[in-house]
């Protein structure tokens, strides 16, 4: 896979969306273990209820990891210069997420041509869970 070419990348161009399978409790357990985030609010329903939540909910970083997959499908990871998100809403267990993004502008920085991407994660009701941006160096 090679870096997207500056001559072919246009403003408003959409990236191919990444649809994720429904988030299961198993996914949350595996992500807790592999990410190092053992906060019981994501894996222990008793703890979540005691903390005032109706159920466990997904790690924000799980959605950001999905966005990372989405970005590195469009361009090799070594082209990624910056990746920033704001977590807008809690993602409950069983949510069905999709990563989306488009080219917001083309800029030059440090001798490189970069695509600034507006990126986000939405659920199947259209609620935005994460919104952010990424800078990707073009070839």
């Amino acid at each position: 896979m090679s870096a997207p070419c500056r001559d072919l990348v246009k403003v408003d161009q959409e990236l191919p969306p990444l649809q994720l399978p429904r988030i299961s409790r198993t996914t949350l357990a595996l992500f807790a273990g592999s990410s190092g985030d053992h906060n019981p609010i994501h894996i222990d329903i008793d703890f979540a209820k005691a903390a005032g939540m109706p159920d466990v909910f997904a790690h924000g970083m799980l959605s950001m990891a999905y966005l990372g997959r989405f970005l590195t499908r469009w361009a090799p990871q070594m082209q990624l210069r910056q990746f920033a998100v704001r977590f807008a809403a809690i993602t409950p267990v069983c949510a069905k997420l999709t990563c989306t993004g488009k080219v917001a502008e083309i800029i030059q920085r440090n001798g490189e041509v970069l695509a600034r991407l507006d990126i986000g994660v939405v659920d199947d009701k259209g609620e935005v869970k994460l919104a952010g941006e990424a800078l990707v160096a073009l070839a």
Partner: protein, 152 residues
């Protein structure tokens, strides 16, 4: 209220070795199946020294070391009341399996919104390679919800 005297607090430096097994476990958990993230030969063919650490993987360094848990204790924030508000990474060089990293973090800001119903803790980290060169910069904003209520 979290005491704002903690602004500027330098956290203990964390050592973190990027391990192949952990990377494969992370790939499994996040549904990543592409060979360059699982197979070393494929990673090398794609131009990496070894399996690359995915863009968000290095969050694990502070978490493994218990830095976040210790920080919440210091600030008097119960773990059941935090949310992740924002996260960003700036990448200067690829990080791959076998890399021995150090993470230097500090609390760069503490502030509140909505008349104190939400408090925010900003942590900035420099992730350095074995030569001391910064390979990744990371910023986390942690939200403490309803700090005036009794702890959960």
């Amino acid at each position: 209220m979290i005491d704002t005297q903690h602004i500027g607090l330098q956290l203990p430096t964390v050592r973190f070795e990027v391990e192949k097994g952990r990377l494969r476990f992370f790939a499994k958990a996040t549904g990543e199946t592409r060979p360059e993230y699982l197979d070393e030969a494929a990673a090398k063919a794609a131009g990496y020294r070894s399996l690359p650490a995915p863009p968000t993987f290095l969050m694990g360094a502070d978490l493994d070391a218990g830095t976040m848990t210790a920080l919440l204790d210091t600030l008097g924030v119960p773990i059941g009341r935090i949310l992740h508000g924002e996260q960003s990474f700036t990448y200067h060089a690829p990080v791959c399996a076998g890399d021995a990293l150090s993470v230097e973090s500090k609390i760069s800001d503490i502030y509140s919104k909505k008349n104190g119903a939400l408090e925010f803790i900003v942590k900035d980290s420099l992730i350095k390679d074995a030569q001391g060169k910064t390979v990744v910069e990371a910023r986390s904003v942690i939200v403490f919800r309803n700090p005036q209520e009794k702890s959960a």
